[in-house]
């Protein structure tokens, strides 16, 4: 696999996402944590663009950065006295680090079959296909295939129909689509809105 602009962009967004995430967790200043959260969310949005999901990338910026991160900033300002803590991590942080590491290793071992066949065998010049790579190929057997990754069986970006906002909106309100979960989501959001107001409201005494 040669280095393409996609690889470079992926590396940049991955560094943004993971570096931002790491700083969210490790930064001593909570305000900086929130700003790094925005950086991490923006990196995720870039990954969505690379995955040809422009609608989700836009929603990521609007909802996550525009609403949730701003909400977090407001919460930090409302609890301002808590910003300058001496100790930002509790006493069980070594155990937490171990749990996180084990979790990552489990997840990595789970995806490792993919790692072997599609990366190292490409590098070593092998062309053996098995496991998930084979299944991807058979799933998309009659579809045009990305010329950059001949053996992977993945559909090329150029041959993809971009999922438009129109298509998503239609899927959300048609009976064969997702109208029931859509309505349930509305109820959930209404309940969360009312609940948040009731919980955070000052008692008028």
């Amino acid at each position: 696999m040669e280095i393409t602009w996609q690889t470079i962009a992926f590396a940049a967004f991955a560094v943004m996402t993971l570096g931002g995430g790491l700083m969210v967790v490790l930064s001593r200043n909570l305000w900086h944590s929130a700003l790094f959260l925005m950086l991490s969310l923006f990196g995720t949005s870039g990954l969505f663009v690379l995955l040809v999901a422009p609608f989700l990338a836009a929603v990521q910026v609007l909802v996550y950065i525009g609403a949730i991160a701003i909400l977090v900033l407001f919460a930090i300002m409302l609890t301002r006295r808590m910003m300058g803590l001496e100790e930002t991590q509790n006493t069980q942080w070594p155990a937490a680090a171990a749990v996180a590491l084990v979790l990552f290793l489990i997840l990595f071992v789970t995806v490792s079959p993919l790692v072997d066949e599609q990366w190292f065998k490409d590098i070593l010049g092998g062309d053996k296909k098995d496991g998930l790579g084979q299944r991807i190929s058979t799933l998309n057997a009659d579809l045009p295939v990305d010329p950059d990754a001949k053996d992977s069986g993945v559909v090329a970006n150029e041959d993809l129909n971009i999922v438009t906002v129109e298509a998503i909106g239609e899927a959300l309100v048609t009976r064969d689509g997702f109208v029931l979960p859509f309505e349930l989501a509305s109820i959930l959001l209404t309940a969360a809105l009312i609940g948040a107001i009731v919980v955070a409201r000052e008692d008028e005494a």
């Binding site: 996609q6 969210v24 969310l41 990954l47 909400l71 948040a196």
Partner: protein
């Protein structure tokens, strides 16, 4: 094109970072931020699998959109709870809010 496992590894790493934050941070707002990181990791996974396994169906993107909805609801209620706790106990340190612990 970048192989699928790149995205899966990034997502796994982001999830592990979020899990560490949720377990190790003392400030409740930092814990909420870590949970958001974990939700994001799940979303990267959902969209990556949609793109690589079944890009001609819309389901994967809809699934990710519902994760957005749940994340927004979770953040709103969580932060409201934190503000309510701060108002009544003047702290958002989770170790100091242990009335339900016996």
């Amino acid at each position: 094109m970048v192989p699928l496992w790149f995205y899966l590894v990034v997502s796994a790493a982001l999830f592990a970072i979020g899990a560490y934050g949720a377990l190790a941070r003392r400030n409740a707002i930092a814990i909420v931020m870590s949970v958001e990181l974990m939700l994001n990791a799940a979303n990267i996974n959902l969209v990556a699998f949609w793109r690589y396994l079944n890009p001609f169906e819309i389901n994967g993107q809809i699934f990710a959109a519902f994760v957005f909805i749940v994340a927004a609801a979770e953040a709103a209620v969580g932060l409201a709870l934190i503000i309510a706790i701060y108002r009544s106990r003047q702290t958002v340190i989770v170790e100091d809010v242990n009335m339900l612990k016996w």
